[in-house]
Symmetry: C2
Subunit: 202 residues, 2 copies
């Protein structure tokens, strides 16, 4: 990260410095340990300015990742409703986001995470702190089992994104969303709430 001194030429420049400092902090020490105060210090600005531009630490994190979605809004939406249909709603949500104009940014993020260890770290932090913790709270999943269940869900959802949007393997690449929901929902449901013999002692 390039540090600058002296008067800032404009808001865009300041914002960019804050975003760079935030990306570094989140990737290096993780979302929980990174503080707005430390990020502000690294960007050589007042913490109040970070709050002014980006609001909460969570919103700063989403901005620093160029996230096309806000999980704070989407996850509770997807998870609300019968527990035994959470898998269906989650797969449908993923397809809705990735099939939308925001999908291009999501593909770019996945490509970047695959080619760059640093973005991969940000994406792990994103998955764990923004997506999974929320889903787990809403679904009331056993805390000890939650990380495993969440990572298993990530294998199916990540693989769907990889095959449909990046590798574009047919017929999954152009299948109607409802067919993919029908195929994948039972998998995601099992990972979220099902018995997993051989994984957890039962």
């Amino acid at each position: 990260m390039v540090r600058r001194s002296g008067r800032r030429p404009g808001n865009q420049d300041t914002k960019q410095s804050i975003l760079e400092a935030a990306r570094t902090a989140f990737a290096e020490i993780g979302y929980d340990k990174a503080s707005i105060r430390a990020i502000a210090a690294a960007a050589q600005v007042d913490p109040a300015l970070v709050h002014h531009y980006f609001g909460t630490k969570e919103k700063l994190f989403l901005a620093s990742m160029n996230s096309p979605i806000d999980p704070a809004v989407l996850i509770p939406q997807a998870m609300a409703g019968p527990r035994e249909e959470a898998g269906e709603r989650l797969v449908a949500l993923v397809l809705r986001v990735w099939d939308s104009p925001a999908g291009g940014a999501a593909v770019a993020l996945l490509r970047s995470a695959v080619s760059n260890e640093w973005t991969a770290r940000l994406m792990r932090e994103f998955l764990v702190t923004q997506v999974l913790r929320r889903a787990i709270t809403v679904l009331d999943i056993d805390e000890k089992e939650a990380p495993t269940r969440a990572a298993l869900v990530a294998t199916q959802i990540g693989g769907l994104a990889l095959v449909r949007y990046v590798l574009k393997v047919e017929p999954v690449a152009s299948a109607p969303a409802e067919q993919l929901v029908a195929a994948l929902a039972p998998t995601v449901q099992r990972y979220l709430t099902g018995d997993l013999p051989g994984v957890f002692e039962t």
Copy 2:
């Protein structure tokens, strides 16, 4: 591709020219349509030399992709045995290959396929012509359903590779193989041979 004329300085150079021509042909027109004769012509060598260096078209394809494995050997191994345990054997095989020293090359290939449309095409050709056709023949899957079943298997297997080896999301990144087999085998089995209501008319 750079075409050269005149005497070839050595075998390595000739081999590289053939591999470049093969990559171009497989990515541009696909495995089935690419002929050894056309690849030899593009590399300005005699077709007999291609056979001499690489054997069959299939072996040339694997060499052009730097594939760390030979599906012609591995897939029949994995698929032999009770049909209702094919999912288990396939997940176990994938983990065995990727957890082995060959896994590094497999990760490199996946990274490359994600960042490069050209390698993505090669990987699609590889999945379809080398892996899936074989698996489908051994398992005696309905030809009309096979492409969909194969692509669904790819979502789960590709996602496992992505999460375990590239994004390294814990606890999947360091879970013992047998736990992942226990978790994922029922999914792969359902995609291979299960009823898929909402996907196929039943």
